[in-house]
Symmetry: C4
Subunit: 260 residues, 4 copies
């Protein structure tokens, strides 16, 4: 294994109609991760590929059924009338800058093979303040998309950075002439924020012309918050831990499992 | 030398009968390292290979006889009726994520050449609390192994991560269709815990159908604890040290030595 | 993508007369960055190339028009009587030592193709003390250049390091027989220091025999200071932020935009 | 430039009689660096090669004459009756584990080309306590060398690590059948310790059967101490410095200069 080694393991090869990609990798506030897990759950999306990278944290992740697998990202899909949807989420982001660029390039290669021409990443817009009705912000590689955001209640931005995979995927998409947009939910950054995720999802659903039930989103946020508190308490009790309980989503629980 | 350079130096090429691999690399609580050092000692296991990697900490390690060698991992073997055993332990783990993935891949390649079809890694399950009778936890790449854990007094897990080589080796094993299992001993994480190591060894010995004398394990833990305290005191006295006394096991002391 | 992947995207291919390169990448005190942004603005320099590297921070940067692009460096040029000028600035420096060396080598290759035989980098000479009339220091790969510094009010130095791209570019230039010089403005290091930038620019303009209006430089410094304070306040409010408002120069605002 | 790029620039190609290599790279206590700078000075050793690596800190170093060069290591030689001597010292050590291993391999390749069959590295044995008459410790890849240490007043060691280039060079030497030994001077680790350097040099001179004047060593230590205090004061005054005054030895001052 030399440098970033990225391996894609396909469990199926779905035939998709004009698919679009939605990404929500774990980041600050879990806004995007919580949103995509809810989407995958409610749309009964099916896993079709796992992505392994030597730039992921060197860990295995214990699954619901007691077995174990390397930390990974996974692709899911769901069928729809106008555009089928592909989802990308996972346990972690790469630990290095080069690992992030390399993985984003690999993801864009996969998108090209699937004829995906538009990507949305879901992220957090952190303010340090609590908000009862969080706003939704957006940016895109396409000026047309930016100009159309207001129709979906999305505010534009004119400066700032989006760090991590939810940003880099959009930037690499641009270099391959794929339209990349990032939808960010306003959040304090202090809690797992179901309201921010819901706001992001509502805007995204308008764009994608789909509807999903939001009723369980708040419970999902509470469960996630609790798990993360447990992890942090354990991590505080030990400098150099070999074992910790991480954030684990329902979408992982119902995944097809990995076939080597 | 480009990137991770991994070198294997064989001092002998043992012919082994249906071997299984037991790994215990230094990690939190030294639970696995203490256990495997005891196993190697009591089973009179013989060293047959050293593993060097440019991802190990850039250090040499002074040996019992006053000579010096690069930080390394080493393979040992012992002969048994049903299954011969191979042991992997060492001075350190790689310093980078990529170094861990690369070394785990190399180890799995070595396993394949030796027809090893099952791997056990020994690790710590850190709770932050002291326990008089530590429990033993387990996970595996095989659902059958997980289902059989209860016969050996091993509890299953349904979430969490195992970080470092003791986790990654199991994850990479899965990708090569080798069954990988991790046995974790409950420990506070605050001391070198002979009780946790003993509990892990007792479960492992049941699985492997071997018996070993545990009487010296507690003394070994005390010696280890003392050495580590000395190191930490020295490390505290100096920001940027060039010289420190690390953990040094008896299994290293009796090793065959390295032939270049 | 393997290791440092550096991509150059040309939007035009200007024909230049005996060009010299001026570099000012963001570093401590923003002395060089503020100076080069002012130069680019006042000389109406035109962007002709963007440089992307997998060693840059893994981020996208939101542009003035609401669209987004990967963090990048950019080349600009302006036409003059005696020597045309090429400018290099950008959003960030690479995050690793190897990334800095690799990018500096790439920049020097570009210089060689453009027949650039002299490079000036603009940097900060940090003293920890405020100075009303900051001094200007200089060093060069050429003893002749060093000996001529006094004509331009530049003080020599006889020990010390210049870290980061503003140093490494000069060092790599030397290995390609290009004369590299670094002009450093004395600054406290605590604020965005228009006085230091102005002092550096005055010396540089004497060397290059050009004149520019300095009247807006102080306003530019104040704007920059304010933006950076906002960023730091936001960064303090969040450990692991996904979104932050970075330093954004006018030269970026008026850039040609990126054509993939 | 891919990964570690190491470049050797020879200014001359001396013909040497049964040469041995002495290494003293900057490390804790500057024990080895101070000793080798004194040796190079007193033996009028002549520089014949510079070593550049993309794993060195990304910095240029301002020379005594006001010009500038990339951070580097340098080889010197001096002619003697029985064995000619080669010296390796420099501005810095690599910033990464892989960079250290790669550079040590390159150095050993150079040794092989020069038929060097024995290497001594000079280092610090840090105790955290001040000692009026510091002891000298030693370890070697050769048991014979270890057994002979007592003749030169050098104490053996039976555990511990030697981190950094002064250790890794010895370890890599062993893998190429070159005898590598490390001589360590007892020091508190808190000051530049002329006494420790003198003790190391006295033992080394006995081994090498050479004599050198030690009278200026204490002055050299005081000068070094003062320069380092200045650097640390400056570094404390600035988080993210672009410019700092580092340790600069007389051996660098008299160096031949670099010819590209």
């Amino acid at each position: 294994m030399i440098d970033e080694k990225i391996t894609i393991e396909y469990s199926s090869n779905p035939s998709l109609n004009k698919p679009k990609l939605i990404c929500g990798l774990p980041g600050s506030g879990y806004v995007g991760k919580l949103a995509i897990d809810h989407l995958i759950d409610k749309l009964h999306a099916e896993k079709f590929a796992d992505v392994y990278s030597s730039s992921f944290p060197p860990q295995v992740s214990i699954q619901q059924n007691g077995t174990v697998d390397l930390v990974k990202n996974s692709f899911y899909f769901s069928k729809h009338d106008e555009h089928d949807l592909v989802f990308l989420t996972g346990d972690a982001q790469p630990v290095s800058a080069q690992g992030e660029y390399a993985l984003a390039e690999e993801i864009i290669q996969i998108c090209k093979k699937m004829n995906i021409d538009e990507i949305f990443t879901l992220a957090a817009y952190i303010t340090g303040k609590f908000s009862e009705s969080p706003q939704v912000f957006g940016t895109s590689t396409s000026k047309d998309v930016v100009d159309g955001f207001s129709k979906f209640g999305i505010l534009g931005m004119n400066r700032g950075n989006i760090t991590g995979m939810n940003g880099v995927i959009v930037g690499i998409a641009k270099q391959s002439s794929i339209v990349g947009s990032c939808i960010l939910g306003e959040t304090s950054g202090y809690v797992i924020d179901a309201k921010a995720s819901k706001a992001v999802l509502e805007s995204l659903c308008k764009i994608l012309k789909i509807t999903i039930d939001m009723s369980e989103l708040e419970k999902r946020a509470k469960d996630t918050e609790e798990i993360i508190k447990t992890i942090q308490a354990q991590a505080a009790a030990q400098g150099n831990q070999e074992h910790a309980i991480p954030y684990k989503s329902e979408s992982d629980e119902k995944s097809l499992g990995y076939i080597s």
